[in-house]
């Protein structure tokens, strides 16, 4: 069954059809939540809440990009949680292990195909990116995660953020400028082959 048919069934209340959509998009939604929130538990909560909200408001989906619609829901859920935390900033930014110690290199982002050295470097870079993202204002963070991590174009980002295209362009440039300063020195951590391929793409 294709996506359009699943959406139609989900709008009629078919939970099974909706759950098939969940399986197709849960990684994307969870990534957005994780990069926005920076925590495993908070990202899981935001993701679950976003899917529940999406199911309950399926009637308001008027077609177009279902992916964009889901990203908007989860981004709004993260905004709400981040605003709430700013009022009561008591939650640690780093995830905790069983002994309530901060985890510097989260194990859940490990790629089983990598060598231990590659895995370490990759985790280090990923954590560095996450740390730099944390320093951005929420609006900048949401745009840069959407465009650079989720691969969304400007028009769709404007639709998801419900913001003018010029604002998206401006926020993205300023976010990249700040991240450039924050991520200086991490370029060498990228594998040489990866760097060459990416530079040739650009």
């Amino acid at each position: 069954m294709d996506e359009a048919a699943l959406i139609l069934e989900a709008k009629r209340g078919d939970l099974t059809a909706f759950n098939r959509l969940v399986l197709a998009y849960q990684d994307m939604v969870y990534n957005q939540a994780y990069r926005m929130m920076g925590e495993l538990d908070a990202a899981q909560d935001a993701t679950q809440e976003a899917f529940i909200s999406a199911y309950r408001s399926m009637h308001s989906f008027r077609g177009g990009s279902f992916k964009g619609w889901l990203l908007r829901i989860v981004t709004n859920a993260c905004y709400d949680e981040l605003r709430r935390r700013k009022r009561r900033p008591t939650t640690p930014l780093e995830p905790l292990d069983d002994d309530d110690e901060e985890i510097e290199s989260p194990h859940w982002i490990a790629d089983p195909g990598e060598t231990p050295e590659e895995s370490t470097e990759r985790q280090e870079l990923s954590q560095a990116i996450q740390n730099c993202l944390e320093q951005l204002p929420d609006e900048f963070k949401a745009v840069v995660v959407l465009v650079d991590l989720q691969g969304v174009d400007y028009t769709e980002a404007a639709s998801i953020m419900q913001t003018p295209l010029g604002t998206i362009k401006s926020r993205l440039a300023r976010a990249r400028l700040r991240l450039r300063d924050c991520l200086q020195g991490f370029w060498e951590l990228l594998p040489a082959a990866f760097r060459l391929v990416e530079e040739s793409k650009s």
Binding site: L23, M58, S202
Partner: protein, 306 residues
């Protein structure tokens, strides 16, 4: 060197990396890039930053986020709300506008320039309808009644004087009305124990009662002796005049026996502003209800899409 670039320059460079510039902007930027090393350096730094960001590991969902019926409370997706936010907002705005219009309309009708014109036109009618204050001020003295009766004969109304003999008088003077009212009050404890035998109340004078007024002889025709005996046996003509002049009460005389009915001057007076006030109340309530409902609807819709 790159610190001298403006925010706009960075925006152009950032959009250039994503292919979001127009062909004209792109041509202009590429021309500048060939001439300015600082622009090339800035573009390189942005490109590397972008590559680093895109190299970030894609995090896999740690668990399955499929929904269970318990999670959604066994409910199907919410139906389209009965009242949309826009419809409620429009209703509230419309009710508010109508409320303002009714307030302005009331002001024009009762306080504005229109009100003065209406008041000038309706002034005589108002004088005829309301109970003259002189009637209320007249005491219950029988001597006063007889004196007044005398004053009636001595000072008839101009119309009564002008009318030919035997011609019905459609209007009567204030004094005549006052006498009748006074007599009606004075004669209440009439002897015979049947004071209300022929009396009845009528909210509005019937069509058959109108001729009573026309048949009433001019006041100046009443014999002096009868007038002087008014406190003992009031004339039927005067009683009929009183009945015809008082829309809320009719005093009828039966075989010369004095019958009087105290008119009910405490009836609530119709306030012409009442419909305006009612409309304003309804519109205000409607505006408040729909406005509140619109706010609640918007909050519900927002919470659902979060």
């Amino acid at each position: 060197m790159t610190k001298q670039l403006s925010t706009h320059d960075w925006e152009i460079l950032s959009a250039y990396l994503d292919g979001e510039l127009t062909s004209q902007e792109q041509t202009r930027l590429e021309h500048s890039l060939q001439q300015r090393i600082d622009l090339q350096q800035a573009l390189d730094e942005l490109r590397r930053t972008r590559i680093i960001l895109r190299s970030a590991a894609r995090v896999r969902a740690p668990r399955n986020f499929s929904l269970t019926p318990a999670m959604v409370g066994g409910l199907k997706p919410s139906r389209k709300p009965l009242f949309s936010f826009n419809a409620l907002r429009f209703s509230s705005a419309l009710a508010s506008v109508l409320l303002v219009l009714t307030v302005i309309g009331e002001w024009f009708s009762f306080s504005g320039p229109l009100a003065t014109q209406v008041a000038m036109v309706s002034e005589p009618a108002a004088e005829a309808e309301f109970v003259p204050p002189e009637a209320a001020m007249l005491p219950d003295s029988t001597t006063n009644a007889s004196e007044l009766r005398q004053s009636i004969t001595e000072e008839p109304s101009p119309k009564a004087l002008m009318a030919p003999e035997g011609t019905p008088v459609p209007t009567f003077s204030l004094d005549a009305w006052s006498v009748a009212e006074t007599e009606a009050t004075v004669e209440e404890p009439a002897e015979g124990g049947e004071p209300f035998a022929g009396a009845y109340l009528a909210e509005t004078p019937s069509a058959e009662e109108a001729p009573l007024l026309e048949a009433a002889p001019p006041l100046e025709e009443a014999p002096a002796g009868e007038v002087m005996n008014a406190t003992e046996t009031p004339s039927a003509e005067v009683a009929e005049l009183a009945a015809a002049s008082q829309p809320t009460a009719v005093a009828a005389a039966d075989t010369g026996e004095a019958v009087a009915v105290q008119s009910d001057t405490t009836d609530p007076v119709w306030d012409p502003r009442l419909p305006w006030r009612l409309a304003q109340g309804v519109l205000l309530t409607l505006a408040l209800i729909t406005g509140s409902a619109a706010l609640i609807t918007r909050q519900l819709q927002r919470s659902r899409t979060r």
